[in-house]
């Protein structure tokens, strides 16, 4: 199907040049000052008690975006797991590869990374940080541990790992639904427990995001066990 529909080289050039011209013109037409929704957001963040405005936007005002974004990440993980081939191949390939240097490095770094991940989540409400940053560091620690043989690649797709992958999204949905019992709408955190609920979600999300990143690595790494590159 569609072999004859190879794009002529002219079309990409036209598309690319069109983007440059039209988007460039649109950007230059903008006034040099504009604050968008900055003022509303800052005032709103003061009222909600979260010091970091970006965190307030992400988890409170536009928390619905973030709920769906977590869904995107979990969906991508499920998608890549559905495309995986033979997970055992990666186990065989990695086993026996870890040298003494990688082992020593992992023994030093992995605990530190887990600590840093926790720290990033904790400071997320007032300074840059949060579940994604923490989860990324946690996932990296996991990858390091797999590469040096402290964790098994075949774990990807196991029931236990599935629970860790899912717990963040499940907790988020639970917290999102909870205000409905009191007549509020989806994600309408009660004022008195807002901060604690957000921290609760963030901690569980960190675990799930870390597990997602690790699973993405493991599941897609297994596809070309031969070592050839596409």
């Amino acid at each position: 199907m569609g072999d004859r529909r190879r794009f002529p080289a002219l079309l990409p050039l036209l598309a690319s040049g069109g983007v440059l011209a039209f988007v460039g013109r649109a950007v230059l037409a903008l006034p040099p000052t504009a604050s968008g929704l900055a003022v509303e957001m800052r005032d709103g963040a003061k009222a909600s008690g979260i010091k970091n405005v970006v965190t307030a936007v992400l988890l409170d005002f536009r928390g619905y975006d973030t709920l769906l974004e977590i869904a995107v990440l979990m969906l991508a993980t499920v998608a890549v797991l559905s495309l995986r081939e033979d997970p055992a191949a990666l186990s065989r390939r990695i086993a026996g590869r870890a040298g003494p240097v990688l082992g020593a490095l992992t023994r030093t770094l992995a605990p530190l990374m887990i600590l840093v991940a926790g720290h990033l989540v904790w400071v997320g409400s007032s300074e840059p940080g949060g579940a994604f940053q923490g989860g990324a560091v946690l996932g990296a620690a996991g990858i390091l541990m797999v590469l040096s043989g402290y964790a098994q690649p075949a774990w990807a797709g196991r029931r236990m790992v599935r629970w860790v992958l899912t717990v963040g999204l499940l907790a988020f949905i639970g917290v999102a639904l909870y205000p409905m019992l009191g007549g509020g709408s989806l994600l309408q955190y009660p004022d008195e427990s807002r901060k604690n609920l957000i921290l609760f979600i963030e901690i569980l999300l960190t675990l799930s995001i870390g597990a997602s990143i690790l699973s993405l690595f493991l599941a897609s790494a297994s596809a070309t066990a031969g070592g050839e590159r596409p």
Binding site: V80, L83, E85, P230
Partner: protein
């Protein structure tokens, strides 16, 4: 030239490059990378244009959009790489222009 325009112009340039690569490059990995170019371009544009009001500080909404966008792009990239690899192991092909031979179907 204002600072915000520097970032925005860089973003537009990256985006245009990515558009060309995604459409013109036959190699599938190149296509995935080109899409990431486009993503980074948009993120730069968002951040650049969201910083047009020095006195009230940067607008947090584009920043939140970028953070969401990055995660979505990571997800898309992961899926893209997984499909490309699986397609390669199934057919030995690294582009969509050549047709897989009948024996390659598994």
């Amino acid at each position: 030239m204002s600072t915000y325009l520097v970032y925005t112009a860089g973003g537009v340039l990256l985006y245009a490059l990515g558009t060309y690569g995604l459409l013109a490059r036959p190699h599938l990995i190149h296509k995935v990378i080109s899409a990431n170019f486009m993503g980074s371009g948009v993120f730069l544009i968002l951040i650049g244009l969201g910083n047009r009001s020095p006195e009230s500080g940067p607008d947090p909404v584009p920043q939140a959009m970028v953070l969401t966008g990055i995660v979505v792009t990571v997800a898309l990239t992961a899926l893209g790489l997984a499909i490309v690899k699986r397609y390669y192991t199934a057919t030995g092909l690294d582009n969509l222009d050549d047709k897989p031979s009948a024996g390659g179907d598994r």
